[in-house]
């Protein structure tokens, strides 16, 4: 034992103590992880696009997914966009009254803002929580219970079989639901303006400021978010590991990443819209 003691103590000396990772270490680990995620996301996106064009079509899957993403979100979005329209007009009215006593342009400004940005972005943020969490939980639990591996064994690519219908359905359902919820927000905003500020609904429903540029930017946003939410959530679901806890964290990641995707896409599309359609703002 006495002979072994210096050896063991030397071994302890040689083995470095477990250090707290430094700042550079953390930054590097973060960068590597972010890069891996981005590459994974890109791969899922490209394969989804490929199979959307060349893949086999599963009968009924598309309609079922549109129902799940679209119809089942209608109630949810109707309630929130209704409240959101009320909040927005209320705040805008309070804000405007501090500077000008005249609220005739409230409706026109509200409509333009709704069409160009807020209907699509806020609606998509809500859809990202509902639809994104649903997709990630579903695909994640399929991964954990090895159903996705079973699909691969049957020579069915999970991207083709699971992601493509959700992707196509996402584009259609998001656009449709957002157009509906923009209508809801407009009506609730109109009622709020009437009740709180006494703005006549006819004055409020003024489409004068909505140009074609606003419409194009708004619809582009719908399409982009509708494509991004299923892809990001499906990637989170497919990269699930570690049992039921893994499904929970995959769902979290799906919601966070798709919300981030919506915000970042919003920035780029809005900036592009500002540069491409400066005439629409006059």
């Amino acid at each position: 034992m006495a002979a072994n003691e210096p050896l063991s103590s030397r071994a302890e000396d040689l083995a470095p103590p477990p250090k707290e990772p430094g700042f550079v270490h953390q930054l590097g680990a973060f960068a590597i992880e972010a890069f891996g995620q981005a590459r994974d996301l890109y791969s899922v996106f490209v394969r989804t696009l490929y199979y959307s064009v060349y893949g086999r079509r599963e009968k009924g899957m598309f309609a079922q997914q549109v129902f799940e993403q679209g119809n089942q979100s209608v109630f949810f979005l109707t309630v929130f966009m209704g409240f959101f329209g009320m909040i927005l007009v209320f705040q805008a009215g309070v804000q405007a009254l501090r500077v000008v006593p005249d609220l005739t342009l409230l409706g026109a400004t509200f409509l333009q803002l709704l069409v160009r940005d807020l209907a699509a972005s806020i609606g998509a943020l809500m859809l990202a929580t509902r639809v994104g969490a649903g997709i990630a939980a579903e695909i994640g639990s399929m991964v954990v219970t090895e159903q996705v591996d079973a699909l691969r064994m049957c020579a069915a690519d999970p991207i083709e079989y699971l992601v493509v219908p959700r992707f196509k359905a996402g584009i259609v359902a998001t656009t449709a639901v957002i157009i509906w919820s923009a209508g809801v927000a407009f009506v609730s905003g109109m009622l709020t303006a009437w009740v709180y500020f006494g703005v006549n609904p006819r004055t409020f429903a003024n489409l004068g400021m909505v140009g074609h540029g606003d419409l194009i930017v708004g619809l582009t946003k719908c399409l982009a978010y509708g494509a991004a939410i299923p892809i990001v959530s499906a990637q989170s679901g497919l990269s699930t590991f570690g049992g039921s806890e893994g499904v929970g964290s995959a769902t979290t990641r799906a919601v966070v990443n798709s919300s981030l995707a919506v915000i970042i896409l919003n920035f780029f599309i809005s900036a592009a819209g500002l540069i491409l359609f400066p005439g629409a703002t006059q």
């Binding site: 009320m86 994640g140 639990s141 979290t252 919601v255 919300s259 920035f267």
Partner: protein
């Protein structure tokens, strides 16, 4: 939880009256459950019977670890606010008012709202998954047999941590959003950051606007904490139940954030 749980899905084949009735019952069950849970948490908080260590651990896990995501969201949000204010500003050539316009929207509405949505996605969902897994694997029952009060040890610290996290995140987000707005106004609209800051501090915005947003953030934090803890503790049906609880948490938190936002906005002015 007799008479069906909130996490069960209703059978769509039934009639309209059945669907409406069960929907109503589910909502009232939720409201009642939230109120009971809030009462239990409040009883622990008022008598200071909650675990300090757990509170600090959760604050680190929920607050410090959320800073990157809050920062990215806030910077982009500020830039988006400037882009959305751009047409109005250009029409009236009112470059001096840009800071006020972006600041008003950010401080009162968009800052607290987007921060709450991001924190609800990251922290609320994670919290529900964690508590749900503990509940499914009977760890919470094990605590009870050891005479440890699960509300004082698990739930109340999380409640405190989420409320503080959201309050501080909103402060950080407000600051970073205005920062992002000021420095994106230059390249996008040709407005000098100094002009932006002047518009921000010219007197049209006061402390009330910041406080309005912060009051909201506290209410949002309480709702996120309540819903995530409620769904986490009431998981039924093993591992798939945890997934459903996480989903329900995210949806209900987002829902209640919007509803509360309206009432705080309407009452606060």
């Amino acid at each position: 939880m007799a008479g069906g749980s909130v996490l069960e899905t209703t059978d769509d084949k039934r009639g309209v009256a059945y669907t409406t009735g069960s929907g109503f019952l589910r909502i009232s069950e939720l409201v009642g459950g939230f109120a009971l849970l809030f009462g239990r948490i409040a009883a622990r908080l008022l008598t200071f019977r909650f675990d300090r260590e757990q509170t600090f651990m959760n604050l680190y896990k929920m607050g410090v670890k959320s800073i990157p995501i809050v920062a990215v969201t806030a910077l982009f949000t500020g830039a988006i606010m400037v882009i959305q204010a751009a047409p109005l500003v250009q029409r009236y050539q009112a470059y001096g008012l840009l800071g006020w316009g972006a600041g008003f929207g950010t401080l009162r509405e968009i800052g607290p709202l987007l921060t709450a949505l991001m924190i609800s996605g990251r922290v609320g969902a994670n919290n529900a998954a964690e508590l749900g897994t503990m509940s499914v694997t009977e760890q919470i029952d094990a605590m009870r047999t050891l005479a440890i009060d699960p509300v004082a040890y698990l739930v109340a610290p999380r409640f405190v941590a989420i409320v503080i996290t959201l309050f501080c995140s909103t402060l950080v987000a407000d600051f970073l959003a205005l920062f992002g707005a000021a420095y994106s106004a230059g390249p996008l609209l040709g407005v000098d950051p100094q002009v932006f800051y002047n518009g921000l501090t010219a007197g049209l915005l006061n402390f009330g606007d910041v406080a309005h947003g912060l009051v909201k953030s506290v209410a949002f934090g309480a709702m996120i904490a309540l819903s995530s803890c409620f769904f986490g503790l009431n998981v039924q049906g093993g591992a798939p139940g945890v997934g459903r609880a996480v989903n329900a948490t995210v949806v209900v938190s987002a829902a209640s954030i919007f509803v509360i936002d309206y009432f705080v906005s309407a009452l606060g002015t």
